[in-house]
């Protein structure tokens, strides 16, 4: 921080200053004399703005041109991003419809105190771009040309509107992962990565088309797996998307076609994959420390062998990675095969959540990256579950579903549990205890949850050069409405979050 030697107000100022709050003062003449906020140097303004949450920052962007510039600066976005807590992106998961709306659920426990009669509306944050924007462009032109042409809606109601029928197969995006504030979207039918977007700024870019890749091994393929992930390499400030096609052949050989696109470049690069590394079924791509990690399930999800596969983005090579032996080691053979292990990243730390045994949900964090010994059991949510009674939990709680750590244990551990019927349990033992809430939509459907840290990082700064066009959702698709956009998600807190009520919620008397 610089020392301010100039623009020091004279002592008599404090008597002159008006005590009224928020008084508007014309500063231009009194520049040297009055220390009103109007005069504070921009680096001080930046320090204040850095402490604001994202919503308020977006409001501040509309204050004046200088502030817009300050907030849009890449360095500002980066510094702010480092302070932003983890939130969750929520999308309704109805397979019959195209859900292009993302909702942001900020994990502020005060917000979860809604009261049993209230519903708090969740504001949609982002409309995902449509996969086939060109066909929509044609439809849009149809509308423009024939001014009163009614467009058939999905339900076959004729009405004059801008509602456009959409087909989930063609238009829906799958979400691959969230990395450093950006989301990677793919074609859900084949996992092909198509778009990278920043939901907060509304920007997105389309990834280059796939070029035909030569088949390496022509023997018959028994199993194929496509994997995609978005990663970030802090050293070079680059984002990379990797695409893998892993084929297992009849003769027990495995061939891997690996392609990488560095964001901003116009094409995919073929990368030689290490033939020594055998790749099992992969899930939960997570980028930490400039490398991508997956949990590998040997022998499929029901198999017992699990490992962590690591791909270094700098060397563009696979490398070995220590897994937590306590978690991945000997599991009792559960015939149900409820393997619920997820992996993710929390503020630079790799974590693994094991909710395989529903009586014992555990969270593991790798405290020291790369050091297998540093896998530490953060907390065990057993007391939570066991307090829900039920002699045989397996009958009533199929499994807890997903578990997301929200705060690192040094800041006071907090975790969000998600039960597949859209129940959430926010658990921060030291401060708030439990908070239970539910998400309602207009139709009963499940939601898809993606942990995401909202950021102002602009794709324009990520994509260096003119090769790739950065588009904005607001300019292109804003006029169109999909039927799904009439849905509104809201939060409700049906019961007060005390333990007795929670128990009644999850404990079903077997006699009734």
């Amino acid at each position: 921080m610089k020392r301010k030697k100039d623009s020091i107000p004279s002592p008599r100022v404090s008597q002159r200053c008006n005590k009224a709050k928020g008084k508007v003062v014309d500063e231009t003449q009194n520049h040297q004399l009055c220390p009103y906020f109007a005069n504070i140097p921009s680096h001080l303004t930046v320090q204040i703005l850095l402490q604001l949450p994202i919503k308020s920052l977006l409001i501040c962007r509309c204050v004046c041109k200088m502030w817009k510039t300050l907030i849009s600066e890449p360095h500002f976005a980066k510094s702010h991003f480092q302070k932003t807590p983890v939130s969750l992106m929520i999308r309704t998961n109805d397979h019959r419809r195209v859900s292009s709306t993302l909702y942001l659920l900020e994990c502020e426990p005060e917000k979860f105190e809604i009261g049993s009669d209230n519903h708090v509306k969740l504001e949609p944050i982002f409309k995902l771009p449509l996969r086939d924007a060109n066909s929509f462009g044609e439809k849009r032109n149809q509308i423009k040309n024939k001014s009163k042409c009614p467009l058939l809606s999905k339900n076959n109601l004729c009405r004059e509107s801008l509602y456009i029928a959409s087909k989930p197969d063609l238009d829906k995006f799958g979400i691959v992962n969230s990395c450093n504030g950006l989301l990677c979207l793919c074609d859900p039918s084949n996992g092909n990565p198509l778009v990278i977007c920043n939901p907060v700024t509304g920007e997105f870019i389309r990834l280059p088309e796939t070029t035909t890749t030569p088949t390496l091994n022509t023997t018959r393929v028994t199993r194929q797996q496509r994997q995609t992930a978005l990663g970030f390499l802090p050293k070079t400030n680059e984002y990379k998307v990797i695409k893998m096609l892993i084929s297992n052949h009849v003769n027990d050989c495995e061939s891997v076609i690996l392609e990488i696109n560095t964001l901003g470049t116009p094409s995919w690069r073929n990368v030689e994959a290490d033939s020594q590394v055998s790749i099992p079924l992969l899930k939960y791509p997570t980028c930490v420390n400039g490398a991508l990690h997956w949990i590998g399930f040997e022998g499929g999800f029901a198999g017992r062998q699990r490992s962590i596969l690591c791909f270094c983005l700098e060397s563009e090579r696979f490398q070995s990675f220590p897994s937590p032996p306590q978690v991945f080691g000997n599991h009792n053979n559960r015939t149900r095969g409820n393997t619920k292990i997820t992996m993710g990243e929390l503020k630079g730390f790799l974590y693994i959540c094991d909710s395989t045994f529903f009586t014992d949900v555990t969270m593991w964090v790798m405290n020291e990256y790369g050091n297998g010994e540093s896998w530490t059991k953060l907390y065990n949510i057993d007391p939570l579950v066991s307090s829900f009674g039920s002699p045989d939990p397996s009958r009533y709680l199929s499994h807890y579903g997903l578990c997301f750590p929200i705060k690192h244990f040094e800041e006071g551990a907090a975790v969000l549990l998600y039960h597949p019927c859209n129940w959430f349990i926010y658990y921060e033992p030291e401060k708030y205890g439990f908070k239970v809430f539910q998400i309602h939509g207009s139709a009963p459907n499940f939601v898809e949850i993606i942990p995401h840290i909202p950021s102002l990082i602009s794709l324009k700064h990520v994509v260096k050069g003119d090769n790739i066009e950065v588009q904005n959702i607001h300019s292109r698709c804003a006029k169109f409405k999909l039927h799904e956009e009439n849905e509104a998600l809201s939060l409700s807190q049906p019961i007060d979050g005390d333990l007795e009520s929670l128990r009644s919620l999850f404990y079903y008397d077997s006699n009734t």
Partner: protein, 161 residues
């Protein structure tokens, strides 16, 4: 407990009051620390411009609380906006990192979820967007303006003129 003068640093505020503070506290003020280090001989009195005695009182309060591990109890709620601004500038001048962060957070808290108009008034900023520019940027960030907890725009109609 006998305290030799070398353990206490004398600071003279703009309004002429002399405060004797522990060396450890003076160390948190990087500006003061630099002056001490630059001096050849022992300094007896360090003038701190731009800092008033009521600022020093609060600084000492904060220091005592943070030494006792209770820095979260320090509050500037009772200060009105002008007083908070003065205090922030004083702490910035003294280059005290921790307290500076507490104060910028306090200002941010006062701005959180307030309307564009409120923020402009608070900082004495004039809107230099044309109505079209404002409409465009407002539309881009529309999500941020929605929600029950956001203060509505009072002067939004003026923008559309």
């Amino acid at each position: 407990m006998a305290s030799s003068s070398s353990n206490l640093i004398s600071l003279k505020t703009s309004d002429g009051t002399v405060f004797k503070v522990e060396r450890a506290l003076a160390k948190t003020m990087k500006t003061v620390q630099a002056i001490i280090e630059e001096a050849d001989a022992n300094i007896y009195m360090i003038p701190i411009h731009n800092v008033f005695s009521h600022h020093m009182d609060m600084i000492i309060d904060y220091y005592k609380l943070s030494v006792a591990g209770k820095s979260k109890e320090f509050s500037v709620e009772k200060l009105d906006n002008d007083e908070l601004k003065d205090f922030l500038l004083a702490v910035h001048y003294l280059n005290m990192e921790d307290l500076f962060e507490v104060l910028t957070q306090a200002v941010a808290d006062r701005l959180e979820k307030k309307s564009v108009g409120y923020v402009r008034k608070y900082f004495g900023i004039e809107n230099d967007f044309t109505p079209e520019e404002y409409a465009a940027i407002r539309k881009k960030n529309d999500w941020a303006f929605k929600g029950d907890d956001i203060e509505p725009e009072e002067d939004e109609e003026k923008q559309e003129e």
